[in-house]
């Protein structure tokens, strides 16, 4: 009841879905539509997990007064504040809710993303060491492609953009294809393991 039935649900549904892929018939398409409406009805409740966990983590921090607990108060306050603003004034353009999104969340997201430019530079500096033949190859390929993207590359040598293109279209393609095939096999295997009930990590532990 606690474990067997959910497992059975996965296995039965899983096999139906295997068949669904091969059967284009109306009945099969209808089954898929039905499943979709049910999944959509289940999905909104997931957010409760996140909110509950967030509250548990931060309220514990506040209660125990762990270092930096004050920031947990800020987190919870912004969480409640943003949610409330959304429910009170709505979520259309021009509401305080969208103002928060545009002037708080979006700039921070974009800035976080743009930190990558700094990190990519420091990673290149710190980690690109010609320790071994392989590392050297990686380093040289990176430099050529980097040069190939800016006008200075062609100034140094006409060959640089050409080589850069060649690297992207030949060895890079081979690498991507080889890895993708391996990953594809691995994915198939893992799906199959779930389907056969071998892999049941997703159920969590317990009896």
């Amino acid at each position: 009841m606690k474990r067997q039935i959910p497992l059975l649900i996965v296995i039965i549904l899983g096999f139906i879905f295997v068949i669904h892929v091969f059967v284009p018939h109306k009945a099969s398409a209808d089954f898929y539509d039905w499943y979709q409406t049910w999944i959509k009805a289940i999905s909104p409740f997931m957010v409760l997990l996140g909110i509950m966990s967030l509250f548990m983590v931060h309220s514990t921090k506040i209660k125990r007064k762990v270092p930096n607990w004050q920031y947990s108060v800020i987190t919870l306050a912004s969480l409640i504040g943003t949610g409330a603003v959304g429910f009170i004034w709505g979520t259309q353009a021009g509401t305080p809710f969208m103002w928060l999104f545009k002037n708080v969340q979006m700039p921070m997201g974009a800035t976080m993303f743009s930190l990558l430019a700094f990190y990519i530079a420091s990673a290149a500096y710190k980690a690109f060491r010609a320790r071994s033949a392989e590392a050297t190859v990686l380093l040289i390929a990176a430099i050529i492609v980097m040069l190939g993207q800016v006008p200075i590359g062609i100034k140094i040598s006409k060959l640089i953009p050409e080589t850069s293109n060649w690297i992207l279209n030949v060895p890079n393609l081979a690498a991507k294809r080889g890895i993708a095939m391996g990953v594809g096999l691995g994915m198939t295997a893992t799906s199959l393991k779930i389907l056969l009930g071998i892999e049941r990590t997703y159920m969590g532990g317990g009896k």
């Binding site: 920031y71 800020i74 990176a142 492609v145 690498a175 391996g182």
Partner: protein, 200 residues
């Protein structure tokens, strides 16, 4: 001070607070991080309520009287028991129902990740480049063969695979640089242009 100036000021404040992490962890960053996490989660709640709960749960049941939807809705609410000690197992039902779709993954990933890729790996070899792509693909596949240790001649062959991968990784790395710097340029243009008005 117009509304827009204030808005830009706040956006700039948070932008700089995040950037300050580059120097070191500091109260500004901690503050921005706390607000970021809170706001981003708080942002999701009304949207999920509006875009999934209302159309897929509330409306079917209470407006269209499709009472069958009560089953998945109740199943979904079992998630709440996740943190309960004794009833935690109940939350496995919605998870199991959502996992069923993995079944599709078996034939589909076989089809699109393996068979389709195999077709493109069988293209006629008519010049040095196609030959190299062929060699690269085969040696990389051999690298991912787990039943034989990489030793001797076989080790040499898989080593070629590693070389191909390394060139590929280097290329990916170098290739991403430009896009990431463009993002930073975008941010700096905001700070210098929209906020400070230094760029005219």
């Amino acid at each position: 001070m117009s509304f827009e100036v204030i808005s830009n000021f706040i956006a700039a404040f948070f932008t700089l607070s995040i950037f300050s992490f580059l120097y070191k962890d500091n109260p500004f960053y901690k503050f921005a991080e706390a607000v970021f996490i809170g706001v981003s989660m708080g942002y999701a709640i009304p949207l999920i309520y509006q875009d999934t709960f209302i159309p897929f749960v509330y409306r079917p049941i209470f407006v269209e009287y499709k009472f069958l939807i009560l089953i998945p809705a109740l199943t979904g609410s079992l998630y709440i028991f996740r943190f309960s000690k004794n009833l935690g197992w109940l939350s496995r039902y919605p998870i199991a129902f959502s996992m069923g779709i993995v079944g599709m993954g078996v034939p589909l990933s076989m089809h699109s990740y393996v068979l389709v890729q195999m077709r493109s790996a069988m293209l006629p070899v008519d010049n040095i480049n196609t030959a190299l792509i062929f060699i690269g693909t085969v040696t990389i596949l051999l690298y991912f063969f787990f039943s034989k240790e990489h030793k001797g001649v076989y080790g040499k062959v898989t080593n070629i695979g590693i070389w191909f991968m390394m060139v590929g990784f280097g290329a990916s790395f170098g290739y991403t640089v430009m896009a990431r710097i463009s993002l930073l340029i975008g941010r700096i243009q905001f700070l210098l242009g929209d906020w400070l008005g230094l760029m005219k």
